[in-house]
Symmetry: D2
């Protein structure tokens, strides 16, 4: 999770960055920040809160310059400090730099230990601070070479944008785990963003995805970004972006998110063809279950109904910090459509089951509202392993699929039947033409120290 953006070569750089961050608000709502570069000076404003709360006209007046980078942060493991917002700024030997990061560095602790053993200090809990230290410690003369050296010591899933006083360096890891795209802004300059849904709002045209292992360099005097292939690519984009995290109107590495979700639903329907049960309607858990439910309904010819209403005056369940808050918010967020579901058998579709508590509450809510049967379908495989590549999953002990079989989960959530996608189904739904990062489902932690 998290979103990053870079704007290069546009006099409204910070304003466009803030609009792009607004379009990617779903990727992180805890904190947001922007650094602009103007006349060799980097200005940074960052704070807790939504993009629309942090960036008003006053803030944008401070953030002068024709390049800017920005970040949306989702809730952190216990990092309640304002210091844990990004961009991370530092003065170092070559001047000033500011960095934004989306991803997770799996050798973070080892790097930190080595760095602190050599006298480094860390002022935040963010792994982004690692990279900035490694860059500063490099003995190379040019920033681009320092970044390369730093990345050689960096293992994980990452997208970085490093902004100096006059350049931007964009890097995507060799696996291309986290998404990152390049666009051309009609009013001038370029945009780099985690999701293409940011391009429309700033009136930019999609050019291409940043390649796995690629570094793009934006610098004065160059009409186009310079491309340097830093690492041999081993493309394995994150499947979870398609399942849950990305906005449906985004195109990630050439695949439209909405369509892949429809496919997941269609596959669930096909799998149900020979199963012996009858339902009156397909009901999505809104909002993320909607495309799969539409796919299921289309495939199965069972009517699609909005049997659960979502109250949009509350935030997203998945990314709230504490368990206690999550409970309250589920109750205030989803309401059953009593008159539709009373006495009816429902096929309910959600994008995933993590801890099982939300699903259990949804089934109970529907049955309390009079549903005769609730058949639960999940548009992803069982989540048995925590993600270490940038999605904020709980500890393995909290993952219900780690602790229970499918049948046990079905009983636990009190559903009348429960089916998941198989891992093969998921791959085919997104597109069988490539490998995916599927570690939450199959435990294949292919990025290793």
């Amino acid at each position: 999770m998290c979103a990053i953006v870079g704007i290069y070569g546009n006099d409204n750089a910070a304003r466009l960055a803030s609009i792009a961050l607004f379009a990617m608000q779903h990727r992180g709502q805890e904190a947001t920040g922007i650094s602009s570069s103007n006349n060799g000076k980097i200005h940074t404003i960052k704070n807790r809160g939504l993009v629309s709360e942090v960036f008003d006209d006053d803030a944008l007046r401070v953030l002068k310059g024709n390049m800017a980078i920005g970040h949306n942060r989702y809730s952190t493991a216990g990092g309640d400090s304002i210091l844990d917002a990004q961009p991370v700024f530092a003065k170092y030997k070559l001047g000033e730099m500011s960095i934004v990061h989306n991803g997770n560095l799996i050798n973070k602790d080892e790097v930190r230990e080595e760095l602190t053993n050599n006298g480094a200090i860390f002022q935040t809990g963010m792994d982004t601070e690692n990279l900035i230290h490694l860059i500063a410690k490099s003995s190379k003369d040019r920033l681009r070479d320092r970044i390369k050296e730093a990345l050689n010591k960096t293992i994980g899933a990452y997208c970085f944008i490093v902004q100096s006083r006059s350049k931007q360096f964009v890097i995507r890891d060799r696996y291309g785990i986290r998404p990152l795209s390049l666009g051309k802004i009609k009013s001038g300059g370029y945009i780099i963003a985690s999701e293409t849904c940011a391009f429309d709002l700033v009136d930019a045209e999609f050019i291409r995805d940043v390649r796995p292992g690629e570094m793009l360099v934006f610098a004065e005097g160059h009409d186009e970004p310079e491309s340097i292939q830093l690492f041999e690519p081993e493309f394995r984009p994150c499947a979870f972006e398609y399942v849950y995290f990305a906005r449906p109107d985004s195109e990630i590495d050439g695949k439209n998110v909405y369509k892949t979700r429809e496919n997941m639903g269609r596959t669930l329907a096909k799998n149900d063809l020979n199963r012996d049960f009858k339902v009156d309607m397909v009901v999505p858990v809104p909002d993320s279950g909607v495309p799969a439910a539409l796919g299921y309904a289309e495939e199965s010819k069972i009517p699609f109904k909005y049997g659960i209403i979502r109250n949009h005056y509350v935030g997203r369940t998945f990314i709230e910090p504490t368990q206690e808050m999550r409970n309250l918010k589920v109750r205030m967020k989803l309401s059953p459509m009593n008159s539709l579901i009373k006495g009816k058998s429902l096929l309910v579709i959600d994008d995933s089951i993590v801890r099982g508590t939300t699903s259990k509450r949804i089934v109970k809510m529907l049955k309390d509202a009079g549903a005769k049967e609730v058949h639960f379908r999940v548009a992803s495989p069982e989540i048995k392993f925590p993600c270490y590549y940038g999605i904020d999953t709980p500890n393995q002990e909290e993952l219900i699929s780690h602790k229970m079989t499918k049948d046990e989960i079905c009983e636990y959530i009190q559903a009348d039947s429960l089916e998941y996608l198989s891992i093969e189904d998921l791959k085919n739904s997104i597109g069988a033409d490539r490998n995916y990062a599927l570690e939450s489902f199959d435990g294949d932690y292919f990025v290793t120290k």
Copy 2:
């Protein structure tokens, strides 16, 4: 618009009122307030902002007592004052009272003039202040008789709850134009609310709608509210609640809002049966166009697709105060699903067209995204007349259907075809068993001075 709630006979009255107001936040987001009664003293807290912003634990600690009334306010014609929030509180001859109101009094100015001619002062622009004056001026000894007398001078569409130090009086006008329902709270006492969607969250059971012309009196020593029929009922509930305003999971006067909207969509589809055009998909303008689009898709067998994505980090278009803010927000709120609609012919469904500017922008956005054709369908008749019965419509000159024919509008919004529901269609979609308030469509202002 606006929402009102009353809680009687529960020790957590103010807390339940705030939760009910939260569930009805869609009816008004400008201001909110609650008055509780405790030991013969009325406490009031009201302020601008959302329910979740105004009512924290500190506020609820102040609002002690086992009865409370509350209000959500939508934006006002220019009333930027905090004083224009409700409840309206007053000390008068018999003690203290507090009032909430949903609706619009059409003889407001005449009553004000008569009252001011007799020396009354008005501290706000709200017509609610009329009623409180009329009650205070009555020569009757009992509050219920004063309310009756006051209502005899009050013409309009209204739902009132008057709270004294120990009682609550609930009144719905003789036409039942604005909705109002009665529920029983499982943890004790009763709830009155503009919409039944508030009942679930406070764990209340729907009992019945308040009847047109009925006054309910909640008082100590009575297990059930006393019912007094104040006026001969002439039932004509507002059709606009079904078309646009109410939450789809609410039941208004026995009819589920979602189902009526599905019906509207089905009717649009039937009307299109013999029309000569072909589309690839049915696309709703989210969120309010979704049920009708589902109905259309089901009836026509054309696939339903989410071709437009809504960003929920912005508020509702319809109820924002100024034209300028509305423009910006439309652009930030709706995004086209490029890869779905490119090269496709779309059947787009919205709930209504008011000024036409939003529809024009939507069509443009879809065509810019590559849509081949955009056939626009509206799940309501042409709005030719302003509503004086409690819906916040603009002046007649701003209503596009007042100024243009259907064909002219079609050209103006650059659609490939445009169809509305007929008034007859609308009535049948909601239910042909009764009359409706349809003044926005047919100009029949049946409530007259």
Copy 3:
């Protein structure tokens, strides 16, 4: 207490009003508000907080027009409502008006009862609402005649400014109890203010005090305000303004406040001439005891020393709402100058003793800091009676001089000696040329119903 201001005939009326209120912040810190009149429309902004908090550039942009009235409110008896801020605005038969008031109406309850018996409602606890009702109820055609009629039913100590859409009416009660002065603004127009200390900041020249019983009318087409003597004057200005409340650089009814306080100190010194005790220094309780202490020191030739330091990051004791907050704040506000007072005998001077708790704490603090002796002098007579004329004194039971003799108080506060001014001393210190309102000291409630 409270401060009022009126600006007439200056295009920056609201800005000047806010600056004048800032200069009179000492008269009330709980809430503040301004109403301006512009093209026949009255705009009002009022809120809790200090002048510098409530009135920023945004607020002043709203408050257009060439006339404005404003108010600072001190804490109220339990009125925690934003509605209890002034100005009070009302629409009535003749249009719009807004009123500010400094003082206290002693027949408030009777007037309210009569008004509510006739059907009036009261939305606040402020007696200012009485006047606005009486004006609205008058049958006269002109506002000035309505005001006169209303004032005939109004008994108390008061200064009012009534602003209509095009005029201002300024009234001071027949006794001139509360101060009110007229000035001419160099950049154009007039200012009316509770204290002349407001004149300097807006660059205005003092013209004269408003006369007891006078009404000034500011209206277009008149170079100078029209003066109407409404009531036979019986001049008795409030002595407490000189003792404690007014700012020392104000001139009230021709007498400089600082000088009268010096006189009070000199008189205390003269009275001590034949008393048998010896002190090392005169120490004021800052800030209000300073001028009297300087007078005492000058007269007695005993050195003046700042033995107590005041921390200005806290507000004033006297005007805080609750006893509990007062305790905490005394402790955080005053610090003893240990090295100055250790082993020394002190003559401590405060302006008054109300409940005795602060004085007791001050004596203890000084003795704890090593003072050998603490002789306490009070620059006013014993406060035996509550003030009903606009000073916020506690109930009589809380007044220590109501419950104890001077000797008992001396023992209670643990002072080595205690002396007050006599009532005669006080009169002579301010000026023997007129009568004063002295009801807190002598119980002569000369304004009666």
Copy 4:
């Protein structure tokens, strides 16, 4: 400027720290912060604003533990970042530490350069970050040895408190330039504070000043702090603390600030004995000129009068960030006492003249108010050099005494005469028993790289 505090061995450590910071608010009003240590975990809260704004009960609940350090920050040279507040926290090889600092490190840039050359990064503009880097880079095993090593590379005027998870290390530079005192808290444990005025409020007893060059170590199992003399002392405390900055009730290195200011005034009076002029009164520029004016009046027998009133609802001139704000605030802060000074000759005393603009405005204000003559006296020598030892003075070009002779300044500010203290006078006024840091007056920058 700035204030620091350390509380060790008291369960209410953070609360006591916040109260002590409140008492030292005059030393810095831009930002404030506290770090507590609890069970091996350091918690930090810091923000812009006053102590009373930043530390409420919620904040103090977070700041658990029996030790805490805190800081008040005055405005910075252009550091508008929240990151520039203290304490500065870091994780490093040995765990966690947090630091507060009052002073200025003159070899800051060289140390930064060396550190960045070796790969260090700096996230703020504060020299405090230097020390934390030096400590982290040390190869010693114990924190105390690391601190020693770090201090060997640190040149400047400083007081540091370094807090680890279980210890506090307090250091004052070898010259004792900035003040720092040790007290014993009656409810348990110790307090370290920049000024003794903080001791009273937390009910602590002064023990002694921290010695120049001394390190105090607070650790579990030791009843008293361990004292280590790190550097050979060369005691030269800052004279400016006595002249202007410290609170008058503080004792700095054995000398009461108020008394030294009285002495400065007395000396000015003695110097005037043979001068040929006659004044009617001694008038202080409040608040900081008051003690000197009292000393002058006592010595000269000329009456002391409060001819200028200060409005305490605005902050201090000296420490506001921009020139523009300063202008506005001077005008709103000081008012002339017209009736006292009209036609009179005044001897006005201020603590210092920095740029001359305030003095010029004061003289003009007094003459506009009718003063016949204004003789200006300054209770310090001419400020010809910027301070690099921790007082926030402007650039040398802005210092009026750098650009003009005394006579030229006298003409510039339009005074009738102008006299300063000589440097010798200043030394004698504070106490001839030791050397002082007088670099602002004599340019003797004795702390050198």
